[in-house]
């Protein structure tokens, strides 16, 4: 049976070239990068090379890149680091209702510790209204954190415009660019952001390595305390092969960016067109124009996402859903909720993400199976267009 993975926003396989770059650093070139002897300095140089590769992908200076263990850690560091460093300046943070949990739950934690957190509403397409941001700023605002590209619906934010608002008011601006990296052009200098989180496993690099871009001159407290690694700003023996892999993945993403965007967006558009023409009562969630090139978040009315997901899995197809039924807490997707999508529709949502290995044949297969699955589940369902919800 054909296996079609269409969940590249959840994670990506490591590319062959990336894995090959990593392998030597597990065994022969395994030295601790902090060690002074040759076995250590070889490792140090490998890390510095990777730093350059990641920096280049976002047009940062090498020394503005600080490796972490994940996008999650980068998000935690950005937020905790700023609120601690600026605690005498204020206790108010602004973020959005559609952030990744790495931001939202950090916000929740801070709210329990005396901070005020504003979670901005978004427009129906998932975009933040710059006027809403302006209106939310107070004298106590010390950090604005708005994600670059949303992981569920793929909406791309006007980061440059939002960062300019922060700059005008002298407020630190952070963006979670975990989904943006390798999928949209990123130039930190042009964007004017102070802090940016990225993660390797979304760009065909390994899981368990990320980075925080810290614009030169931005002061923030450390999050991970200990050894003198990463210019004394992030402690812990470096994940050497992981960092090397991130570097290689970033290099490939840099070289391949335009072709990647073209390829996945064409396939994604073809997929959406096919689905729309073959299945009724389907809607596309999010923005048409400002969208992650591989993302198709669709609602199939009258049926439930987890059921679709399982059926598709039986046919070798991997996708995800915003349905409450699939979440550990039985809460429907906070992102789709924030877009104003009614709960019953959220239940019927599926996220498909096209990636580099995806082919047209894969898409055709998925469309074919999807038609079957949707028809089957609709035939079982107690709701329908005619019967109503």
């Amino acid at each position: 049976m054909r296996q079609v993975y269409l969940d590249y926003s959840a994670t990506t396989p490591v590319k062959e070239d990336v894995l090959n770059a990593m392998i030597p650093y597990f065994t022969e070139k395994f030295g601790n990068p902090s060690s002074l002897y040759t076995v250590g300095t070889v490792s140090r140089e490998a890390i510095e090379k990777a730093r350059g590769q990641v920096a280049k992908l976002i047009n940062a200076q090498d020394k503005e890149i600080f490796f972490t263990s994940s996008g999650t850690e980068a998000d935690n560091w950005a937020v905790f680091g700023i609120v601690d460093a600026l605690k005498n300046k204020g206790n108010h943070i602004i973020t959005t209702k559609i952030e990744h949990h790495a931001l939202l739950h950090t916000g929740d934690f801070l709210e329990k510790h005396g901070y005020d957190v504003t979670y901005l509403d978004v427009e129906p397409d998932g975009r933040v209204n710059p006027e809403a941001l302006k209106a939310a700023i107070t004298d106590k605002t010390i950090l604005i954190s708005i994600m670059f590209v949303n992981n569920e619906v793929g909406t791309v934010q006007p980061i440059k415009e939002l960062a300019a608002i922060a700059k005008e008011r002298g407020i630190v601006f952070h963006t979670d660019a975990v989904q943006a990296l390798g999928n949209v052009h990123i130039d930190v200098k042009d964007l004017g952001v102070d802090l940016m989180s990225v993660s390797a496993h979304k760009i065909y690099g390994p899981k368990g390595v990320g980075a925080l871009y810290i614009r030169k001159g931005v002061q923030l407290s450390n999050f991970m305390h200990g050894g003198a690694q990463e210019s004394k700003r992030r402690a812990g023996t470096e994940n050497l092969p992981g960092i090397v892999g991130f570097g290689k993945a970033a290099e490939l993403a840099y070289e391949n960016l335009d072709a990647h965007i073209k390829k996945v967006s064409e396939l994604r558009n073809y997929f959406i067109d096919q689905v729309m023409s073959k299945i009724e009562n389907v809607t596309l969630n999010g923005s048409k124009e400002f969208r992650h090139p591989g993302n198709a978040n669709l609602t199939f009315e009258f049926i439930e996402g987890e059921a679709m997901l399982l059926y598709l899995d039986m046919k070798g197809i991997a996708v995800s859903t915003g349905s409450a039924c699939s979440s550990a807490s039985l809460v429907p997707s906070h992102v789709l909720s924030a877009l104003g999508i009614p709960v019953e529709k959220i239940h019927g949502s599926l996220r498909f993400t096209v990636g580099e290995p995806t082919t047209k044949e894969d898409i055709d297969y998925v469309v074919e199976q999807l038609v079957e699955v949707v028809n089957k589940l609709r035939s079982i369902s107690s709701v329908s267009k005619t019967k109503g919800w």
């Binding site: 002074l36 002897y37 040759t38 300095t41 140090r44 140089e45």
Partner: protein
């Protein structure tokens, strides 16, 4: 070894002018083992020219390399010229040192001054380059924090 350049490594692995001079005309010690670096330098002087210099150093790679290159540099110089040698010149001669190791070159520069000071004391001489130099001054300048 990426920490030091080849020239530093060469002076460290094969240091020049190691040892002591029997009947030295001047002898100076600078630094302290507590700081991790202590250099002793002996000089032989004829007609105000340094004819020979030898050193012994307790210290790291860059302290040993600085000692080696500094003694090389002063052999053949007049006292006034030797007094004008700065740690910056020592670093340049070595083709650069890591920032954190700059203080090791200061050690060599001070040890030379100490040896000349000893020579001046023994021979009742005064040199412009020694004005304000105190061989027993606090060593805060070379970075020891102990």
């Amino acid at each position: 070894m990426a920490m030091y350049n080849d020239k530093v490594m060469d002076h460290f692995m094969n240091p020049h002018n190691v040892g002591e001079i029997q009947g030295a005309d001047g002898s100076g010690t600078y630094g302290s083992p507590v700081c991790g670096d202590m250099m002793k330098i002996d000089i032989k002087v004829e007609n105000d020219v340094i004819k020979d210099a030898k050193f012994k150093t307790f210290g790291c790679g860059s302290a040993i390399a600085s000692s080696s290159v500094a003694t090389d540099m002063i052999i053949g110089l007049t006292i006034d010229e030797a007094l004008a040698v700065t740690n910056k010149q020592i670093i340049d001669e070595l083709g650069g040192l890591p920032a954190i190791k700059i203080h090791c070159s200061v050690l060599a520069d001070h040890a030379i001054k100490s040896a000349i000071y000893d020579y001046a004391q023994k021979n009742g001489k005064t040199y412009k380059g020694l004005e304000g130099f105190d061989p027993n001054a606090d060593e805060d300048e070379h970075g020891c924090e102990v």
